[in-house]
């Protein structure tokens, strides 16, 4: 034990690249109640919606909320449509909160517990610590998305059957084609949420308060959404991270509208890259004072 093992003078068995393995961080997060609750809610939400639809009185009052409002009318027409509906209702807020939770809480909570300095004293190289934490947070975010969609698809298909995907904006899609569209929608949602992930992660590195990081990211996201509603801002709105958040609806039409999807991907990836770069740049230089 007392002899040093390598040329860098580290303790026996220590390799910087072996510190904080993905599995270790994954377990660290998995043991947390908020992780379990968030993932559990992802499973629960489709079931709650399903039960809520059972109370449908059959009154067909069209509230005329645009062509896409029809997604809710069509939600009970099949498992694929039910999944789409579940995504529609959760995409604008719930998923944002969940992603912000996973990405905003990860570093800040370690800082607030005081365990961050012990990880750095292991030593886990700072860039590695951040990279592993980011990858694990993204993995949980993706898992949440898949759990939501998977549960909705399973529950919806069991309840409403394996029917074609229908919407008022396009012809009916075969279940196979519909499933592909659904996967594309999921992929796009995941990409858009990268911007939230980037913002929350940056705040997580900047602040020691986990609540501040998560809440800050969600608040800024809401602010961006509000600004996006103000058409007077004109072209500036295209630079808002939320501007293309709903472009996934274009993936339902025939032919698929990819213009806004592509632009949304550019926007989200650019924002995420910017935020993550800032996070790494900051974290590898800052004094850990927590």
């Amino acid at each position: 034990m007392t002899q040093s093992s390598s040329t860098v003078g580290a303790a026996a068995g220590y390799r910087p690249s072996a510190t904080l393995p993905f599995a270790a961080e994954f377990r660290r997060q998995a043991s947390r109640r908020r992780t379990q609750l968030a993932l559990g809610f992802m499973v629960l939400l489709p079931l709650i919606i399903l039960i809520a639809f059972q109370f449908d009185s059959g009154e067909d009052d069209r509230n005329g909320g645009g062509e896409f409002a029809s997604l809710s009318d069509l939600a009970t027409s099949g498992g694929l449509n039910f999944t789409l509906f579940a995504l529609l209702v959760s995409a604008s807020f719930l998923l944002v909160v969940v992603v912000a939770l996973f990405c905003g809480d990860t570093v800040a909570s370690e800082a607030s517990w005081g365990s961050l300095r012990y990880l750095l004293a292991v030593p886990v190289p700072r860039a590695r610590l951040l990279a592993v934490k980011l990858v694990v947070a993204l993995a949980y975010s993706g898992l949440a998305l898949l759990l939501l969609a998977g549960t909705a698809l399973l529950a919806g298909t069991l309840r409403y059957g394996w029917e074609p995907l229908s919407s008022q904006v396009s012809a009916q899609l075969d279940p196979g084609e519909g499933l592909l569209r659904l996967l594309a929608v999921l992929g796009y949602l995941a990409v858009v949420l990268l911007a939230v992930a980037g913002l929350a992660f940056l705040l997580s590195v900047v602040t020691d308060a986990a609540l501040g990081a998560v809440g800050g990211a969600v608040l800024l996201w809401i602010l961006s959404s509000i600004l996006d509603q103000i058409t007077a801002l004109g072209g500036i709105r295209a630079f808002l991270p939320t501007h293309y958040a709903n472009a996934w609806l274009g993936l339902l039409s025939t032919p698929v509208q990819t213009d806004d999807v592509v632009r949304g991907c550019i926007s989200a990836i650019a924002y995420a890259t910017l935020f993550w770069s800032l996070a790494f740049w900051r974290f590898t230089r800052k004094d850990i004072t927590s």
Binding site: S4, S6, A24, R27, E67, A121, V169, I236, G250, P255
Partner: protein
């Protein structure tokens, strides 16, 4: 542009440190980008002159009329630098203000633009003659003269300006007629306009003449109302809807006419038509024709002649100016067939003609954004080549577009553009035949055409024809013939034809033939709300005797999906048309031929989406390259890192050299700390709160960057994240545990994070030291302070590191635990390991450590083996009955000195003289000694600094 001005204060505010400058630069670039973006849109680039121009026209060219004009002149245009001109005509019911946005766009492209209000509208004088060659067209000729007289306008010959004529609807008709009448026109872009006005208002889809046509009363009424009502027009027409389609095709975004742009709202209007409430500002002959047609629903030959006089159809052979024809698909007023007729007539003379269809029109407005952009692009390209003389020939390929669905973001429509090399006309370049079947069905013609089927609502907007609430057939008044579900999708582009048979007791029937797209759920869509009115004559009373007639349906561009059915509906009424007033029951049956759908094999026009796709690919590639570069740079920096062993400190667990830490706010936490920890030692870092102990340990753990100085661990220089840190176990600033895990799980989680072999951890030893018993399985959230502290020490000892660094380890422990901890630490330091303990408690250091380093205010006050420091001091404190006498006595003793003291006690440096001797000497002198207290060096040092300044040292 604005950025340097803005960036300077920004940067100053951010401070001068390099990273702040980087951040400032990033912010400056962003601000600059926004500023450039913001200023880009409001650059003027032109000036305007408004004037009333009096022209002489009329059949004899001697009737003066005032035209309200605005002349847009691009910046830089002058007599020395002449620019080409564009004559920009507005639509029916509009004024020169309706086309202002288009005029500004063209002026920005470098054209002098003359927009004017046509006679009979707005502030212009005269009456409406419906683009009559003797009136409106002659006005146009005079305006060409006016342009030729402007010194800034380029001319081909004296009196012949270089000019293009652009206009939509009424203005498009004028462009065609003016080009036919005046050869000075160099190019025209007529949009959504007519070929034969009589056929447009009196269509008949089996190919009959306009005298047999079915009167399009809906549109005719709107136009007669819009132009004829000389006062303030109906609110629904003057402000918004009437002006909408006219300016729409070439303008970006939704049409938003300026207030007061409606017909007849101008104050300077000449009251020519005001005398006649029936005709308003219409010329008498036009008004009389309308009244006749609208009354009977049929046109006499004379009325048809009048309308044809205002039509390009008879004069197309005279048009020599290259013509770009833009026609709307959502246009129940001037359908695509009108542009088709114009294109054929003009191209027959060898004049260059290009045709473009877009998804807007009199019903659809400007269409989706990408569609109106295409129209705008084509227009500028056409003018640039044929008027300005720039750019290559635009070619004659045909572009069209199709509604692809709703836009997910702004809920508008989205169009997909297509192109094909040759204009296929309305028959397409391919055809699909679909059989539609159904029994012969009786259909009722209700008296006076009421209730009527609704196919389109003029001006209902882009969505009007697509919402299922609008299109509707009245039960009993229509017959249906349906196909089987299509096996594969078909892209229709052009005029479908269908054959029907009909029988009528009167021998005559007016019918409306429509083609519906029926989806599998049964929802039927009438593309663009277009219908084919037919007037059949000579019909038998029984359907068996009826002969088939072929009906040419309006041209559509639509993709009919696989699984959809096509339905031919034959209705007796339509709200937009005049139908026979007498109630009758017809019989309608399918004809002898299939439904023929023309198709066009167009290729999608690449849109900006392609560019964005490349941008996305480029972005991803740039990120990948950047990531690789960063990783390579980090590796390189890592390799260049000093990993050599300082020979002097090779065997020394810890050597701190001239450490200094200054915080960003200028606070110096550690000014100069210099000490070593050797194997086998337990070194105490002693100092009051805020002395800099914790800061030193933070630097030591790589949490904080030192301002100056070095730390060597086993001879290797320590920087944040140095691998050599793995040989140090630490407790700095209290425990840090995951509250939701048990003590044992916390230790395991920590060890997992080190990535080191499980066996190296020595959990059992660590747990024994922690001494938590069964509590080790409880969550740390429930731990007491002392329990956490013990667990933290156990965590620091995991892996039995060669150097143990503990910050206030006894904090929160009870006395037995403190004693136990002392023994643990002393035992730990045997066999070559070393321990560094920080504490503000003198006794703790004294009892635990072999060596001590006393720090205060960031400096070392004393250091060395504890016995040296803690060992007895030569000084002694005496409490005597008579201090003054004692001073005298002691002063006589050799080498003994009395140190100054304040409170009556004597502090005496015995300087080698035995204390017993000093006391004996005092007693002998008759001085009573109450107390003799030996003093120790550490205490001296510690009390000296603490006593001096126990307040205000700050929390470090």
């Amino acid at each position: 542009m604005r950025s340097p001005l803005r960036a300077a204060p920004v940067r100053r505010a951010l401070g001068t440190r390099p990273r702040r400058i980087v951040a400032g630069a990033v912010a400056a670039v962003l601000v600059a980008a926004v500023a450039v973006w913001a200023t880009r849109s409001d650059e003027a680039g032109f000036r305007t002159e408004s004037a009333l121009v009096t022209v002489r026209s009329g059949p004899a060219g001697d009737e003066p009329v005032d035209l309200d004009t605005t002349f847009y002149l691009p910046d830089g245009a002058s007599a020395g630098r002449k620019v080409p001109a564009v004559l920009l005509a507005h639509g029916f019911g509009g004024t020169k203000e309706s086309v202002r946005a288009d005029a500004e766009d063209l002026a920005a492209q470098g054209y002098a633009v003359l927009a004017w209000t046509a006679r009979g509208f707005g502030r212009s004088g005269g009456q409406i003659h419906l683009d009559s060659p003797d009136h409106e067209v002659r006005d146009g000729e005079r305006l060409l003269d006016w342009l030729a007289a402007r010194p800034e306008v380029r001319t081909d010959a004296p009196g012949d300006p270089r000019v293009g004529v652009v206009g939509g609807s009424y203005g498009g008709g004028l462009a065609l007629l003016l080009a036919a009448q005046d050869q000075r026109v160099d190019a025209i872009v007529p949009m959504i306009t007519w070929n034969d006005l009589s056929r447009a208002f009196l269509p008949e889809s089996t190919g009959k003449d306009a005298t047999s046509g079915v009167f399009k009363k809906g549109w005719a009424g709107i136009f007669f109302g819009g132009g004829g009502n000389a006062g303030s027009g109906p609110a629904g027409l003057s402000g918004t809807s009437a002006a909408e389609p006219e300016g729409a095709p070439a303008s970006a975004g939704p049409p938003s006419p300026a207030p007061g742009s409606g017909p007849g709202t101008g104050s300077g209007r000449t009251p020519a038509g005001a005398a006649d409430p029936a005709c308003g500002r219409f010329a008498a002959d036009v008004c009389a024709a309308y009244l006749r047609i609208a009354t009977t629903g049929r046109a006499e030959q004379a009325d048809v002649e009048l309308l044809r006089r205002s039509s390009p159809a008879p004069v197309l052979d005279k048009i020599k100016a290259p013509t770009l024809l833009v026609q709307g698909e959502a246009d129940s007023l001037f359908p695509i067939a009108e542009a088709d007729a114009n294109a054929r007539g003009i191209a027959a003379n060898g004049t260059p003609v290009r045709v473009a269809w877009y998804t807007g029109g009199h019903d659809g407005g400007a269409g989706p954004r990408n569609d109106s952009d295409r129209v705008k692009y084509l227009t500028v390209q056409w003018l640039d080549h044929y008027v300005k003389g720039e750019g290559s020939a635009p070619g004659d390929d045909f572009t069209y577009s199709r509604i692809a669905g709703f836009d997910a973001l702004d809920r508008g429509l989205v169009a997909t553009g297509f192109r094909t090399a040759d204009y296929p006309g309305l028959a397409g370049d391919g055809r699909r035949e679909v059989a539609v079947t159904g029994p012969a069905q009786p259909v009722a013609n209700p008296p006076n055409g009421n209730p009527a089927a609704i196919s389109s609502v003029p001006f209902a907007g882009a969505l009007g024809s697509l919402l299922d609430g609008v299109a509707g057939d009245v039960p009993g008044q229509h017959a249906r013939f349906e196909s089987q579900p299509l096996a594969e999708a078909v892209d229709v582009a052009g005029s479908p034809t269908v054959s029907i048979r009909a029988a009528s007791p009167t021998g005559e029937a007016v019918l409306f033939v429509k083609l519906y797209d029926v989806d599998p759920e049964g929802a039927a869509t009438l593309p663009n709300g277009l219908v084919a009115p037919v007037r059949l004559t000579g019909l038998p009373a029984q359907i068996g005797a009826a002969t088939p007639v072929t009906v040419t349906l309006p041209a559509i561009v639509r993709r009919v999906e696989a699984g959809h059915r096509l339905r031919i509906t034959v209705a007796t009424t339509d709200q937009a048309y005049t139908t026979p007033a007498e109630p009758t029951v017809y019989t309608v049956a399918a004809g002898d031929g299939p439904l023929v759908l023309p198709t066009v094999a167009g290729e999608p026009i690449p849109t900006t989406a392609v560019v964005w796709r490349w941008v996305l690919a480029g972005l991803l590639a740039a990120i990948a390259v950047g990531l690789v570069a960063v990783v390579l740079l980090a590796r390189r920096r890592h390799r260049r890192q000093d990993s050599s062993v300082h020979p002097e400190y090779a065997g020394v667990p810890l050597a701190v050299r001239q450490l200094r830490k200054e915080y960003a706010d200028g606070f110096v936490a550690v000014s100069n700390v210099d000490f070593e920890v050797h194997p086998g030692q337990v070194v105490g870092l002693l100092g009051p709160n805020g002395a800099g102990k914790t800061t030193t340990l933070r630097v030591l753990m790589g949490l904080t960057q030192p301002t100056a100085g070095e730390i060597y661990v086993f001879g290797r220089k320590l920087v944040p994240g140095s691998p050599v840190l793995s040989r140090i176990g630490s407790l700095v600033e209290g425990p840090g545990f995951l509250p939701h895990l048990s003590g044992l799980d916390n230790l395991k989680a920590y060890w997992r994070a080190t990535g080191r072999p499980w066996a190296d951890a020595h959990f059992d030893e660590a747990l024994e030291i922690a001494g938590l018993g069964d509590s080790v399985h409880r969550r740390t959230r429930k731990y007491s302070h002392g329990m956490r502290q013990r667990l933290a020490i156990a965590q620091a000892m995991l892996g039995l590191p060669e150097l143990l660094v503990l910050d206030e380890p006894t904090d929160g422990l009870d006395p037995p635990q403190i004693a136990e901890m002392r023994r643990v630490l002393q035992r730990y330091a045997t066999d070559g390991r070393a321990v560094l303990v920080s504490s503000h408690l003198l006794a703790e250091v004294e009892q635990t450590c072999t060596h001590a380093v006393v720090v205060n205010k960031g400096r070392i006050v004393a250091s060395g083996p504890v016995e040296d420091i803690v060992g007895e001091s030569p000084s002694v404190l005496l409490d005597v009955t008579d201090p003054a006498a004692a001073r005298d006595v002691l002063g006589r003793l050799d080498g003994v000195t009395v140190l100054p003291d304040s409170d009556g006690n004597l502090v005496v440096d015995t300087n080698g003289t035995a204390r017993s001797e000093v006391v004996a000497e005092l007693v002998r002198a008759g001085i009573g000694v109450d107390r003799v207290v030996p003093r120790r060096r550490l205490e001296d040092a510690f009390l000296a600094l603490v006593g001096e300044n126990s307040r205000g040292s700050g929390d470090r």
